[in-house]
């Protein structure tokens, strides 16, 4: 008798069914660096500043979430909570005129690159005082003046833009490095692969950095992509690395080293920074694809708490000083919320503004 045919199943299903009681984790976190901030060349003040920045990103988004739930604004809201060490460690490692571009989980990137909490919150509320004049919303924070080119909403679509920004820097021989961040979901887009090939071929001074937060919307990394993400770079002969993204020092150490190398030899890198997204993909996500235990496991490695503990242990600030910072951030965020609520919406004429750099034309 013929064997029973195997059922045609395509995408790997849910949790892999392991019943040994172990938590089925979406990403395995590599060991963080053992170096102290001093060994990394960071001053005490810089570390405290890092903590303040990360705490700001965290509280900004927690308040944003509340405001969203209160119906203060609509649209999408993709939260970065849990990933703050990546934006913070990177920005501290790069020069101020190095270029950063990312996808739609962009609030943290905006805040760390000079979008004020007020301008950020106002953008979420769709107000004229928003960093993108209320034209972009949550997904399109930007501060181009400070070399943050923005958040983009098409998965993978901004990756060639990052390559192009790096291309222009090389063309102008200005020594700037471009860091292009993408989610693990974007790894499956053709745009990434075309850009990696061209970047290696043309020696573009760019770092393509995957923030692997474990999920492509609701699909775990192991269900949407094969093999290790960072190893894809080998197919392009591109330098690559994988490291822990829950520890800000690890991010800083690696980005510092990689950016220095890119500046020296103008060869691109493809890196995987493993982190974890605490919240859903967006606000409408019931998160049925993961267990509470899994989330709790990662929260033990919380990047903000981790740095706070370091600051206190190393006596970089006293408990009182840390509390003062927390209170200050809390006040700043609440002021931002109040500001966003009260500042006016764009005027009607704004509908037709910002379409053209040159002479505007609208077909009627």
């Amino acid at each position: 008798m013929a064997k029973k045919k195997q059922e045609a199943i395509f995408t790997p299903i849910g949790n892999d069914g392991s019943s040994d009681g172990k938590i089925d984790k979406a990403v395995d976190l590599p060991e963080p660096t053992k170096k102290t901030h001093k060994q990394l060349g960071l001053t005490n003040d810089q570390v405290v500043e890092m903590f303040e920045q990360m705490f700001l990103q965290r509280r900004f988004e927690e308040r944003a979430m509340q405001m969203y739930q209160k119906g203060k604004f609509g649209g999408f809201l993709h939260l970065y909570i849990g990933q703050e060490a990546v934006s913070t460690g990177t920005t501290f490692a790069l020069n101020g005129d190095d270029d950063i571009i990312t996808a739609y989980r962009d609030h943290g990137w905006g805040l760390v690159r000079g979008v004020t909490p007020k301008a950020g919150m106002a953008e979420l509320f769709g107000k004229a005082a928003g960093c993108s004049k209320g034209k972009g919303g949550s997904m399109h924070f930007a501060n181009v003046e400070e070399h943050f080119w923005g958040g983009y909403g098409i998965v993978g679509g901004h990756i060639p833009l990052g390559g192009g920004i790096a291309f222009a820097n090389k063309y102008k021989e200005n020594d700037r490095v471009t860091a292009c961040f993408l989610g693990d979901g974007a790894v499956d887009q053709g745009a990434l692969h075309e850009t990696l090939n061209i970047s290696q071929l043309w020696k573009l001074p760019a770092i393509y950095a995957v923030e692997n937060n474990g999920y492509s919307m609701g699909t775990a990394a192991r269900r949407h992509t094969v093999n290790e993400i960072y190893e894809r770079a080998n197919g392009y002969g591109m330098k690559n690395a994988v490291f822990n993204g829950m520890d800000v020092f690890t991010v800083y150490e690696n980005m510092k080293k990689i950016a220095k190398e890119v500046r020296e030899d103008s060869m691109p890198w493809f890196i995987e920074i493993r982190t974890y997204r605490y919240r859903g993909h967006s606000m409408s996500d019931p998160q049925k694809y993961r267990t509470k235990e899994e989330l709790e496991e990662y929260q033990k490695t919380d990047p903000v708490e981790r740095l706070k503990t370091y600051v206190l242990d190393k006596k970089l600030a006293s408990k009182k000083e840390v509390e003062e910072i927390e209170q200050k951030v809390e006040d700043i965020v609440l002021e931002a919320v109040e500001f966003a609520d009260e500042t006016p919406f764009p005027e009607d004429k704004a509908l037709y503004e910002d379409m053209f750099a040159g002479e505007p034309y609208f077909h009627v």
Partner: protein, 327 residues
């Protein structure tokens, strides 16, 4: 006036703009060492070197997006597509990024980029190499679309396109690259984007056509003249912004209009112009506006079927005869 081939006129425009602005560069498949798939870029590599004349892999999405990013970061890229049929692979970059980045970031960036290459059919190349995309791009806010028919227009408009601070789609035709025409020798000759030109004066019927279709219409006009029907040909040259004033002015004189368009009938240039005429010149029309387009069918390979598919002078004459009630 110099007499130049279409490709030479385009090359002159690129050359002059590269000469005067260090930020202008050209990239695309085969543009450098091969000297251009259609020899538009011939000699540019020798003159400007590998930094500014750049061969790309066959990665339309990738290099179009690199062009957009480079434009955002201060350069003025000319991105050549071997044909706009291949640019379909790059649509995410053209439509979602080039045309939208400025608006969604509240005016923080500009995207001064030209995407250029041949549009529409070029003989028996099968269904995927034969599509006219001009009206599709014209649908998207923020994009300008130019599709000239003669070398002189091509040169002046391409120079304007390269200087434009916003994204421009500049369309050519494989079958027109060898076409000769008069090109102004005036120094730094440019033509403003969005202005139509009356290419033939006549009092009996207005015919609107650009790109390759202009030449089909010109043939039809010569034949109709023998029958005493004088056609006025309006070549819009730019699809968007569309110079409806020029068309309306002519229609008010002739009271009849045919629009010839090498795209499919649904939602194309012909339907848009037809709508605009009924809105702006309804009381002047002595007959409904007629259009000549491709059928709602893909391009066939077989020669007799292909000839049947592509609008020709006879189709134009039939349409003119209809609107002038001569049949």
């Amino acid at each position: 006036m110099a007499v130049l081939q279409f490709r030479e006129a385009i090359r002159q425009a690129i050359d002059e703009e590269m000469q005067s602005d260090e930020d202008v560069f050209i990239m695309g498949e085969e543009v450098a060492e091969y000297n251009g798939a259609y020899k538009v870029t011939e000699g540019l590599l020798d003159k400007y070197g590998f930094r500014r004349v750049i061969d790309t892999p066959i990665s339309e999405l990738g290099f179009a997006g690199i062009g957009v990013g480079a434009a955002m970061n201060g350069l003025r890229p000319i991105v050549e597509f071997m044909t706009f049929n291949f640019a379909v692979l790059a649509l995410d970059q053209i439509i979602n990024h080039a045309s939208k980045a400025r608006y969604m970031l509240g005016g923080q960036v500009s995207v001064p980029i030209v995407f250029r290459g041949p549009n529409a059919s070029a003989g028996q190349l099968g269904a995927t190499h034969s599509v006219a995309y001009d009206s599709m791009y014209a649908m998207f806010p923020g994009l300008k679309v130019i599709y000239p028919s003669e070398p002189g227009d091509a040169k002046g408009l391409l120079k304007s396109a390269i200087r434009d601070d916003d994204p421009v789609i500049f369309m050519e035709s494989e079958q027109m690259y060898g076409l000769k025409g008069e090109v102004s020798e005036e120094e730094d000759y440019t033509i403003p984007i969005g202005k139509a030109k009356v290419k033939r004066e006549g009092s009996d019927v207005t015919v609107v056509a650009t790109g390759k279709m202009y030449h089909v219409v010109k043939q039809a006009a010569e034949q109709l003249a023998k029958d005493g029907v004088e056609m006025e040909i309006i070549d819009p040259r730019t699809i968007k912004p569309f110079d409806i004033e020029a068309v309306v002015k002519s229609v008010k004189k002739t009271n009849r209009c045919v629009v010839v368009d090498e795209s499919h009938p649904f939602g194309g240039l012909a339907s848009e112009v037809g709508f605009l005429i009924q809105r702006e010149a309804f009381d002047y029309l002595d007959a409904p506006v007629k259009r000549v387009t491709l059928p709602d069918v893909n391009a066939p390979f077989s020669k007799p079927l292909f000839d049947l598919w592509l609008p020709d002078a006879k189709n134009v004459i039939d349409a003119v005869n209809t609107v002038t009630y001569r049949k």
